[in-house]
Structure formats: structure tokens, C-alpha cells
């Protein structure tokens, strides 16, 4: 497993993903991408679905990608990765390629939870050796903050707006990490940009398994979530400390929790700093806050029961 010094030195020697992209100040996505690409030891090919990351890193006439990179469309990152990986296996079998290469697909929550779910499920089911990384900013941010299957209950978005009768998104978000685990793939993990080393370790673990790996990474969005740009890591950390976004892994079907907060913070600590939840702090919405706390508590309890306790390295 990597150590921090080694990871820092690797990036010094070869930056796979570079700066001068057009992602917003304080965006979580580049933190996620650079950490993951840097942690993987082998050469990589990147497949990128349409979204903030794809658009803002490839604006004419520049690119922030210093690795082979393909963008096909919105819904098919996993399907394209399947094709590339299969062709690679054929060429290896025929002796035309001898190097170990890793295939990493990046998609936002829009392109993974919703329109990309079919392609992801198919790729996981067929067992391709690739890593799918979902950088989850909990809405369709690139097109202007519309709700997605990853948008949390009661969050405000442009297509689930807050009004006299509406309190934001009436549905709960999907648990995509669990959906991925239900495909019985060798490695599934939930990570956050706040826990950098944990994310790097998970990326390396994902690269090491002989089969599909899925990483769901909470990737904060200052513009869509409504908080000052310097709070990106802090907000992501609050998600973990409130047990809203637990850090865990599913290795060969066995669940391991990576972090148990010493003091589980109330969910209001996560909600309060974000404008998209501001309406929840009005007196008439107190019941919603209770509901949300209950949802988090139930999910956390369920996860605790599922996991064999495991200390993070």
C-alpha cells in the first residue's frame, strides 16, 4: 500500500492530470481525480463521461489530461471502457501488448446513477477489469444544478425547487455503492475527497483486483451546494463525521467499515453550512430535519450490522 511520501514523489515526476483546467475554484472533482490517478502505479487509459469534469478539463485548445483519454457520450463511459478493456485483453493474449495497463472511467453522479446506470451495470456484470469512479456532487452540476438520483432528500435544485408546498427533492437518494456491491464484483468502496490517504489507498486497491472495481467518491461543489470555496474539504469531512457518507469497502462481498467517528455529529452540522439546505432551518421544516436524522441513523445502523469491524491502514 502506498505511503504519502511515495505518492507525493510520484506526482512530482509525472503529473497525469494537470492544472489550468476550468473547474470552479474549490471544486472537489480535481482533488478526486488527481489523487486516484496518482495512486495507480500502472499506466492508465481514462474514459470520461460528459459532465463538469469532461467539459472543464478539455476546453479548446487545451487539455488537462496527460494520459490517453476518451470521451464518447454521457451514458456510456462504462460501455466504452468495456470495449477498450476487452480489446486490450485480446491484444495481450495475442502477444501484441506486454504492458499492464489500467482502465479508469470517470463519471459524475448524473452520468452514473441515472443515464449511465445501465452501462455501469452491464460492465460490472460482465466482469471487465476496470475501475469506475463516480465523482458524486449530488446533482447535474454542469447543466445548472438539476436534481439527480444522487441528490439527497430535501435538497434544493432547479428541478426540485423549494416553494410554498415543495421542500426540495421529495425522494431519497439511491445507494449506488450498495447497488454496485450487489453485482458481486471484487472491490467496491465509498470514499471522500476529505480523506485523501484513504482515497489513494482505495484507488490502489481497486487497481490491484482482477475484475471490476467501483469507487463512489463524495465530491463537493461550492456553487451547487452553496458554501464558500475554501470549505470543500471541510464540508466533505462533515459528511463523514455525521455518518451521512460513511467510508467503507466491500472486498469479495465482505463489508468493512474504514472509519467510525469518535463523536457522531448531528446531521444538522452537515446541512447547516450549505445553502441548498437553508430552507430546512425554517421553523415549519423542523420535522424534515428529524426525518433526515432518522434516515442517516437507520442507514448507519444497518451499515454497522453489515460490516466486520476493520481498522483503516
Amino acid at each position: 500500500m502506498p505511503n504519502t511520501k511515495e505518492l507525493a514523489r510520484r506526482e512530482e515526476m509525472h503529473q497525469r492530470f494537470t492544472g489550468a483546467h476550468a473547474l470552479c475554484a474549490g471544486c472537489g472533482a480535481p482533488i478526486c481525480v488527481r489523487t486516484i490517478l496518482n495512486a495507480i502505479e500502472e499506466p492508465v487509459v481514462v474514459v470520461n463521461a460528459t459532465g463538469c469534469l469532461e467539459v472543464a478539463t478539455t476546453r479548446y485548445p487545451t487539455t488537462a489530461w496527460n494520459v490517453p483519454w476518451i470521451h464518447v457520450a454521457f451514458e456510456n463511459a462504462a460501455a466504452v471502457a468495456s470495449g477498450i478493456e476487452t480489446a486490450y485483453r485480446v491484444l495481450r493474449r495475442r502477444g501484441k501488448i506486454s504492458r499492464e495497463i489500467r482502465f479508469v472511467a470517470f463519471g459524475g453522479d448524473g452520468g452514473t446513477y441515472d443515464i449511465g446506470l445501465q452501462a455501469l451495470s452491464g460492465a460490472l456484470e460482465r466482469g471487465h477489469r476496470f475501475i469506475y469512479v463516480c465523482y458524486d456532487n449530488e446533482a447535474y452540476m454542469n447543466t445548472g444544478n438539476q436534481r439527480s438520483g444522487a441528490t439527497p432528500f430535501a435538497a434544493q435544485t432547479s428541478t426540485a425547487p423549494v416553494g410554498e408546498r415543495s421542500f426540495g427533492k421529495p425522494q431519497r437518494r439511491k445507494d449506488l455503492t450498495e447497488i454496485a456491491a450487489a453485482h458481486h464484483i471484487p472491490y467496491v468502496a465509498q470514499a471522500s475527497i476529505s480523506d485523501w490517504y484513504d482515497l489513494a489507498r482505495k484507488a490502489r486497491q481497486a487497481a490491484a483486483v482482477d475484475g471490476p472495481a467501483f469507487l463512489n467518491v463524495l465530491s463537493t461543489c461550492p456553487r451547487g451546494w452553496g458554501y464558500p470555496t475554501d470549505q470543500a474539504v471541510k464540508i466533505a469531512r462533515l459528511a463523514v463525521e455525521t455518518c451521512y457518507w460513511p467510508l467503507y469497502e466491500v472486498i469479495e462481498g465482505r463489508w468493512y467499515l474504514n472509519y467510525i467517528p469518535e463523536e457522531k455529529l448531528p446531521i444538522t452540522e452537515w446541512l447547516r453550512p450549505q445553502k441548498r439546505f437553508a430552507h430546512l432551518f425554517e421553523p415549519q421544516n423542523r420535522e424534515l430535519l428529524h426525518q433526515i436524522q432518522q434516515q442517516v441513523d437507520e442507514a448507519w445502523e444497518k451499515l454497522l450490522r453489515k460490516c466486520e469491524r476493520y481498522e483503516a491502514l
Binding site: T4, A8, E12, M13, G19, I31, D230, A232, V233
Partner: protein, 80 residues
């Protein structure tokens, strides 16, 4: 001023490239020693390099690759 800012502490260096810095402030927030601030132009800079322990958290967290933390040494690539 758009020139790269370079700070020294013995053989350790901290560099900030203002043209890359978007002034998000994540590095300022992340620094365990409170070394960094956003200046009048909204760009990151080190207010007291003597406090820096060169842990590299700011470099690793920066979404825009604007900070570089390194020790002067001969680089020998161990992998391609």
C-alpha cells in the same frame, strides 16, 4: 503580480503559481500550521514560511495544481 512565489526553508521549497491559483482557499483551510493566506489579489501566499513543516497537504489538496512542495535533491525516476 503574476510571478511564481517561491519560499525557502533550508533545502525545502514551497512554490505557488498565481496564474493557476483560483483563490478557492482550500489550501489555507487545510494547512495544519496556518502558514497560508489569501492575499489582496485573492491568491494564496505564505505569510510565515518559518512555520511550515512541508507536510505537502496543501499541494495534494489543491484542485488546480498551483502549489508545489519539495526538497532539493536529484530526482531518479523509479518507474515510467
Amino acid at each position: 503580480m503574476n510571478a511564481m512565489k517561491r519560499y525557502e526553508q533550508g533545502e525545502f521549497f514551497l512554490e505557488i503559481e498565481p496564474r493557476r491559483c483560483k483563490g478557492c482557499g482550500v489550501c489555507v483551510q487545510s494547512c495544519p500550521k496556518g502558514v497560508l493566506v489569501l492575499n489582496g489579489e485573492g491568491k494564496a501566499e505564505a505569510k510565515d514560511i518559518a512555520q511550515c513543516v512541508f507536510c505537502g497537504i496543501c499541494e495534494q489538496r489543491c484542485p488546480d495544481f498551483a502549489i508545489s512542495v519539495y526538497k532539493v535533491r536529484v530526482l531518479q525516476p523509479s518507474w515510467v
